[in-house]
Symmetry: C3
Subunit: 356 residues, 3 copies
């Protein structure tokens, strides 16, 4: 794109050469003359000064910032503007047509039209895969699983048997979906796995991050609602019900039998203990540990999790209290001495009201 | 199974049609007429009222609960009853016989009788696999590893070289067992990996969850004791010794050189720092962080972890203290003023004992 | 090696038979007569007493410790001495030569000299792999990725398209590198993935642990500096810049747009929120949660993370405060009573200065 075209696309004011052409995006410190960059944070003024980017989207405050880039486009929010352009610069991964000769596809599997199956994928008995789906190299789809249309499995993703993935579901590399969950019953000889007969259902447009795990239910289903996006290294236990359009950041852990409503956001490394619920629209802070029900639309944080404002007040109070430790210890000590001396001085002192 | 057969099996009292047949299990809100469900929690009264389940196991309290299901079986504990039935309804994954044509098996490997090796598994030099084991699609068994009988590797599990898995060990999809641990020595040019010569041994009946990792030892062995069950996304560092019949929930992290006794339970997202020990039968709460030795049979929680009752008392005390912040600040302020006015009033006031 | 050779190698003093030969290393409780062990911690005196190790490296304090091992080598630091010997006892994994017949290698890929590609690896279009690299079984290298020389990918590692790995980079089994990160924009119909056009660059000598994940940048690059070592189950979000020679223990989580300097150490299960920075040489404790910038060379811990000494003081103060809860509650109660009685006693008492 030329600088002029970029400016027109983002509705920005062009300064410099309208014909400079860019064919990629890169950060200021690594950009070359054929790349577009952005500058909106004072902390990167040094990078900007030395940048070789051909064109830079800048905030109004930085219109005249000192720096090598002579061709600049002034916009209110450079990052938002850049995000709107990304699809123009995005190199998509090449996609083959059809079923690779090395893919092992069961004779009883039903593969839809225009499905791509990459090398070394293994499709089990009775599996159904909907049209236009793309099964990545080394991905495994277990017997009896049903995949909708436009499903994307990245390399080495594993779908265990009897799992259901809705239309446009995406599993990233190493995601493991539909495993029988962590349930055991004690027996005289040790423990035995509880047979898991619940389903594992990911509704349409769900995304599961790299190396994340979703277990199927034992006596209930594990369901992830439409449009929910799950980041990397997340654990969803058995019998869990998650609503639609939720966002789970990385390394979240949801224990079995949890109930999470629509539109819930869970921050990185947060967790939830068995058998609780989070109401629709609630927001759980990073590292929070939910061990009681969270009402709709509230923001909770901390461990044990509680309303965020309460958590902040309590933490602030404890910081101030920690500083009062010595004055309080001295006060208690004097008070103890006063009790002693009051007693020894006889009854007429007690009327002063200072102690005991 | 007919409703009558189910009632007989669980020792429950049948209400309704004894000939209703069920061939699967499903939760109340998703069950169809040919499915069995359960109702034991008032929170699901709404689901029960509208359920299409053919037969429902109900608690005595819900025998006459309003709802579509007319065929009910009354039992004290519906969930326990259902768990006892699950094997009757469990669809097992189909298992092929023998070594798939696409499996790569080293000429020097020794494969026992009745072993199933699925497509694209790779079995390295000198590997031994015991009878009736089942190596899943894409699983990798590194050179020199020894697997016992009835071992089950799910798809894409990786056993690094020189690892030992006992009889009936199960590795879930994406489990990585036997990697050389995270050990480095500084050198003038940077750091160099410490060669790891310790073993990685999983005793019989051990289960490792999806995407969990167990590192081999550097100068010691990493050993997981018989019957221990490990959930998903767990990390076991090098040189760790874990006892028998332990349960590790998901996302637990055990640092190197830890020593854990028999029968220890570790809650989700808990962790343990290097070189400490947990005594047999101890229980570590979710999110706990163990940074000192835990005695046998005790229950510890929190970070730093300490006895659970202490942790609870201390947390409760801090909550109450946080509320006393302002009264205490006022008290200290008045006390400070009193000191000032006491001093200015001269020596004979000091005998009242109220300050300084 | 003979005992005499070991003693010479480590500069230790030999007691016992110089001709005892050892060909491996094992811990005291599992060592056989042909194995070398070490004893430097009193807690293992029991193991030492019964050990069948042929030769044992002992601390000076244990030179005459009671025990079966008769051949001992006295050194100041037995563990350090042993680590220096490990390469002599390390069984390396056998390595095949060339490209396995089952590897799928794109016709447009460029494979360097002496590269090993194991069974079922898949190398995409336009990939470049430098000399002497070793691509493990089932590993996947996406289109357009560039790998340097002596790169090692363990089994089932996945390199997404357009990723760059420098010389001697090592990815452990199940590592997923270069995924498009967790970025979405809201749309009327739901959310849409932000196309990620930033790179994912691992500089030379970087190591990524088993099942760890590194996301490529959206509008910036994700870069991991030379020599940095990352343990298992770690998450590195998009647009993150990590310096050289850092160490990240297992289960660390780094949110997007973080900036981490050279030589930073992050303890197990620690985390970092978006958009903050950690200065060079800083050290972050296990479980710490960084939600503000950390200056160079400092040691921080806790959540929210702060300077370690402050954190320790504050925690100690809170423990002491928790014990003062009741005395303080009593003090406040008496103070409240005193206020009441002071008021009722009239103005001349106020001069004593004890209350209100």
């Amino acid at each position: 794109m030329t600088a002029a075209a970029v400016a027109a696309q983002v509705g920005g004011r062009l300064i410099g050469d309208p014909d400079v052409a860019v064919r990629g995006v890169a950060p200021l410190d690594r950009a070359a003359a054929y790349e577009l960059s952005f500058f909106s944070d004072q902390r990167y003024a040094g990078w900007f000064a030395e940048s070789h980017a051909g064109v830079v989207l800048v905030s109004p405050a930085f219109e005249h910032a000192p720096g090598l880039p002579s061709t600049r486009i002034v916009v209110e929010k450079p990052i938002d503007a850049l995000v709107g352009l990304l699809s123009r610069f995005h190199r998509t991964e090449p996609r083959a047509v059809g079923v690779h000769a090395t893919a092992v596809v069961s004779a009883t599997a039903t593969i839809g039209a225009d499905v791509t199956i990459d090398p070394y994928a293994v499709i089990g008995e009775g599996v159904t895969i909907g049209p236009r789906s793309w099964i990545g190299a080394g991905a495994k789809v277990g017997a009896g699983s049903v995949l909708g249309s436009d499903v994307r499995l990245h390399a080495n993703a594993v779908v265990y048997p009897f799992t259901e993935l809705g239309d446009r579901v995406m599993l990233h590399a190493g995601a493991q979906v539909g495993r029988e969950g962590f349930g055991f019953v004690p027996r005289p000889t040790g423990v035995v796995r509880i047979p898991h007969v619940g389903r594992c259902v990911l509704e349409q447009d769900v995304e599961v991050g790299a190396n994340s795990c979703v277990d199927r239910g034992s006596i209930d289903d594990t369901i992830i609602g439409a449009g929910t996006k799950i980041d990397n290294l997340v654990q969803i236990g058995h019998n869990v019900r998650i609503g639609r359009f939720c966002f789970f950041a990385s390394q979240v852990g949801i224990a079995g039998s949890s109930r999470i409503g629509d539109g819930v956001q869970m921050g990185g490394q947060s967790g939830m203990a068995n058998h609780f619920s989070i109401g629709a629209g609630a927001s759980i802070g990073a590292r929070a540990g939910v061990i009681s029900d969270v009402p709709e639309k509230e923001t909770w944080s901390g461990f044990p999790a509680r309303p965020h404002k309460e958590q902040m007040r309590s933490q602030a109070a404890l910081v101030r209290l920690a500083r009062l430790l010595r004055p309080l210890e001295r006060l208690l000590a004097r008070d103890a001495e006063a009790s002693v001396s009051t007693v020894s001085q006889g009854p007429d002192v007690s009327a002063t009201g200072s102690s005991s």
